[in-house]
């Protein structure tokens, strides 16, 4: 069924034979796709269709190399005039097969790969992976490590939302906010640098605890950030909540009702923007989220503006959580004191033979959950429910590591959300869904 295009002077075997066939499959899908638009009873869909297809119909490729698609996302849209009639998303341009790679790594070795999934909030991914492995192997983490993990997860959430805000506004035409939010991200990078030794891909959490304790300087930086930032975020909200262009671009765009959001499987702020109170921090409290006081921002409108409000309020709630964590941070160890569950401290490694052997064994084999064990653990990452489903065969490598990536499920909803909107809304919609292709493409 594959069609090969003939180029002068080029043997057809030399070409990427998959490309024409790939495009043909997308085209077939576009033609055969169920027209959700007519079901949604959009007033625009009821207008008189022109008889002449050439007058009105066009198939347009947006991406994968397009700055507004936030990574290598390809949208193939079928237009009727300026209106999107059908949309097919094509992903996989960043596919690295990390689920397959995980099967040949030890549990600890896989950590750097999680950094590169949602690279806007690497710490949250590290913690998600650690918690999943800890659930699989039944490892308990010391109190202090749990509180520090919470602080860093919430900082990662703010970092991710700051990027979403800056880039989202830049998509809508306001460049200055991008510069302001990147100042905030710079502050956060400094905190991560001081805390973990790396600015971007942190890989700091360890199975059974953390790599290093929080330094006094990092604590000062975090406290300073938490003191300063509520006022700054409120300032942005004051500025944006009454900005006519921002409201005009977002209000009533990409409306998803609660039932539709559940059916499409949206997660995170996109689901809560539609009025579904589903947040893993409350649904299945992990770490110490059941001990801190915070609210889950919820909106019922389900449009881009609602998702904007949810994320802005989430940032303020995250700052509140961090403040409580700082006040309640207990003293104590940061890693489980068991050579089969976590790395020994550097003191043990350098000054005792057992410590050195344990360090070697842990690097070589690591945790070995019982044979046949299977567990799923999810956290509320900035993008939504990030879960790992792990199966063990009794060795130090996972038999199966399934990543439930929030961007992947959210993009599926985007495909449907776009239909019925003008082309100009594509960038706003992509921005409001907040996908990260590193995570969606695995």
């Amino acid at each position: 069924m594959s069609t090969t295009i003939e180029y002068a002077g080029v043997e057809s075997e030399d070409l990427f034979s998959f490309w024409p066939r790939h495009n043909e499959a997308i085209q077939q899908r576009l033609e055969s796709k169920h027209a959700w638009l007519e079901e949604r009873h959009h007033p625009e869909a009821q207008h008189d269709r022109a008889e002449d297809a050439l007058e009105h119909q066009m198939t347009l490729n947006i991406g994968p190399q397009h700055p507004a698609t936030h990574g290598v996302l390809r949208c193939v849209v079928k237009l009727d005039g300026e209106l999107i009639e059908k949309c097919v998303l094509d992903i996989g341009y960043l596919h690295r097969g990390i689920e397959k790679l995980a099967e040949s790594k030890t549990y600890q070795e896989f950590m750097p790969y999680t950094d590169r999934m949602d690279y806007l909030a690497p710490y949250a991914n590290n913690v998600a992976w650690c918690l999943a492995v800890e659930k699989l192997a039944g490892i308990e983490v010391p109190e202090r490590a749990q509180w520090i993990r919470m602080i860093m997860c919430e900082l990662a959430r703010i970092s991710s939302h700051l990027l979403w805000l800056g880039v989202g506004l830049m998509d809508a035409g306001a460049v200055s906010v991008f510069l302001w939010t990147f100042q905030g991200r710079e502050d956060l990078y400094n905190i991560f640098d001081e805390m973990t030794g790396a600015r971007f891909t942190v890989s700091h959490s360890r199975i059974g605890g953390l790599a290093s304790d929080i330094s006094p300087r990092a604590l000062d930086l975090i406290r300073d950030f938490v003191d300063r930032y509520p006022a700054i975020v409120q300032g942005w909200r004051k500025f944006l909540n009454r900005n006519r262009i921002w409201i005009g671009r977002n209000e009533g765009v990409g409306v998803v009702t609660a039932e539709e959001a559940i059916a499409l499987g949206l997660t995170g702020p996109n689901l809560r923007g539609s009025g579904v109170p589903y947040d893993i921090r409350r649904f299945e409290p992990y770490l110490k989220y059941d001990e801190v006081d915070f609210t889950i921002p919820l909106r019922t409108e389900g449009d881009c503006l609602a998702r904007y409000h949810v994320r802005m309020e989430e940032m303020l709630e995250s700052l509140k959580i961090i403040e409580q964590c700082l006040d309640r941070l207990p003293e104590g160890p940061i890693r489980a004191d068991d050579a089969k569950q976590a790395y020994p401290t550097k003191d043990e490694v350098y000054y005792s033979m057992e410590g050195l052997i344990h360090d070697f064994m842990y690097t070589d084999t690591g945790v070995a959950p019982p044979k046949g064990a299977a567990a799923y653990h999810a956290i509320e990452s900035p993008k939504g429910e990030l879960g790992f489903y792990l199966e063990s065969d009794g060795t130090g490598n996972p038999w199966r590591a399934r990543i439930n990536a929030p961007s992947y499920t959210n993009l599926q909803g985007l495909e449907w959300m776009m239909e019925g909107h003008p082309v100009a809304d594509i960038v706003v919609l992509i921005g409001s869904i907040d996908p990260v292709m590193g995570e969606a493409d695995k």
Binding site: F16, F18, G92, G138, L264, A373, L411
Partner: protein, 223 residues
């Protein structure tokens, strides 16, 4: 015949399934739902596994869509969080497809599993019930080759359409199969890269640049 890949190393003192797990969640306590499933479907509910407080219900392959419809309509499990497959690498019932369902109102989470034999890779699709399953089923088909009957658009998700293999099967090598996926040439006039991991497969990799001749190379060593 499948060969055993690794030796098994399970320390004696690792937690066993009957031990309490510090990360067990209240949401995975779904004994009532399992009872309801057993009452409704009887023989089609094959087995129940509990680990770390999580309930995994093994369902007969042919009835999975009915079980999902029952859970969605009668038990409120309307939110499909995850769907994926695993390769067990056994002679019988080689593949597994799991369904992670959530009841948001009641705060419950349940995992269903079906086993799929290599000779009959067809599983009823749940996409008509949960639209969220669309991409997940495509991914499972792409990675493991499980075919979902009734899926509206069973294309490959990540790999090219004419890729002949299913990469997440255990027999697929980590470094890929040379020649299965031609990549762009490394030099402007060069040939297509047929093997991105040439060095690992024992041949000389193509350089994307011309290295300058070294004065310490073998030809000059006699000077």
């Amino acid at each position: 015949m499948h060969e055993t890949l690794k030796f098994h190393f399970t320390p004696v003192d690792t937690p066993q399934p009957d031990q309490a797990n510090p990360h067990a969640k209240a949401s995975t306590e779904v004994a009532g739902v399992v009872e309801a499933l057993r009452g409704e479907f009887g023989e089609a509910i094959l087995d129940l596994m509990v680990y770390a407080g999580e309930h995994t219900v093994y369902v007969e392959k042919k009835r999975i869509a009915d079980v999902c419809a029952f859970l969605k309509d009668q038990q409120g499990f309307a939110y499909l969080v995850d769907l994926g497959g695993a390769d067990r690498f056994t002679d019988e019932d080689r593949f597994e497809v799991f369904y992670n369902l959530v009841n948001i109102d009641a705060g419950k989470r349940l995992r269903l599993k079906v086993r799929v034999d290599e000779d009959d890779l067809h599983v009823p699709s749940v996409t008509p019930l949960f639209r969220a399953a669309n991409w997940n089923e495509r991914e499972c088909y792409d990675m493991l080759g499980v075919i979902f009957d009734g899926h509206p658009d069973l294309r490959r998700m990540y790999m090219p359409e004419d890729f002949e293999y299913y990469p997440q099967r255990k027999e697929f090598p980590l470094l890929g199969i040379p020649g299965s996926l031609p990549l762009p040439p490394q030099t402007p006039e060069g040939d297509l890269t047929m093997d991105p991991f040439a060095a690992a497969h024992g041949s000389k990799p193509v350089k994307s640049f011309e290295e300058p001749p070294s004065e310490f190379s073998d030809e000059n060593s006699e000077i």
